[in-house]
Amino acid sequence: MKAIAFITVVLCGSLIMFGTFEFPDWGDPQSPASRHLSPYFIEQSLADTAVPNIVTAVLADYRGFDTMFETTVIFAAGLACFFLLRTFTKKTRNERLYRHSSTGIIINIKKGGKRPDDSSKFERIDSLWTPYDLIIKTTCRLIIPSIQLFALYVIAHGHHSPGGGFQGGVILGASIILLAISNDLRSTLRRMSEKASAIMAAAGVLIYVGTGILCLLLGAAFLDYEALAPLLQSSRIMARSHGILIVEMGVGLAVMAVMIWLYYNISSAGKHDEGL
């Protein structure tokens, strides 16, 4: 089996390698790909959209429809993971562990026992893994806000530098995932519930689609941001630039929420009790 697979793979590879001899040279400025469509984008995108980062301009404007479906793919992945993994049946464990915050003493409450009332003094912990690491917690408390600030910068500055809604959204999501890893899943779920992340994911894509629909209602083609010019009170070219920003924010929201949603469901296998 292994040998057959190896031979097929090598044969297939050498066949494609045979094809590469007719490829244009690597990095050749005269290759068809560099001569046909891309000069238009490079030379005109600044004049058309007032966005210096050509990738952002092409991504969110010229090929904005692709990007809308890219966001939808991500949303579909979040929805699919929820659909596949989430189990709503709660298994009540007989014993619950609580830790006294200031002393670090762990108490084990058997079934039917009275739970500690004052939840600020006691925190519930998991039997498999008990997060109690001052250094990690403090570091994360320091790092997470800066990560989020950077993520917002990436979203907002996508017009002028590498970045944009997608990258910023992933970084925002990663900051929440970091919170979930450094603390535990349950306390993260208290800050940002699954319902919130699901609704935010759908809302993010809705912002994108809604922008397109708005253009359509204003009489232009779907996702033709120029139609927004009267609403935004700007010139038609700046309307494209602003339209891209709105759309990028939608992408950022959706991607952040889906990354968190994916993590919630995969790290707890859909049970939402104990994370990593």
Binding site: G163, G164, V170, L262, I266
Partner: protein, 81 residues
């Protein structure tokens, strides 16, 4: 761009790719896959695809690895091949 750097990173990418699929510990495979993604991201940065490199760094080396590790924790580390 500097072709020596390019060749070195390409070799490293291929080595880490082979390592990721041959190692018997799935957690190790997940981490090696993260390394593979990160080297790939460097390669794209060298080629001038900064946006793609940025995305790969945050998605491939970041979130994908976390998801892999999470899935491995939920299943098993053992692998026969």
């Amino acid at each position: 761009m500097i072709w020596q750097l390019d060749v070195i990173i390409l070799t490293l990418v291929i080595i880490s790719g082979i390592a990721a699929i041959t190692i018997k510990d799935l957690l190790g495979a997940a981490i090696l896959f993260g390394a593979y993604s990160f080297l790939m991201c460097l390669l794209w940065a060298i080629m001038g695809a900064v946006d793609v490199a940025f995305t790969e760094a945050s998605v491939g080396a970041g979130v994908s690895t976390v998801l892999f590790v999470a899935a491995v924790f939920q299943t098993t580390r053992r692998s026969q091949d």
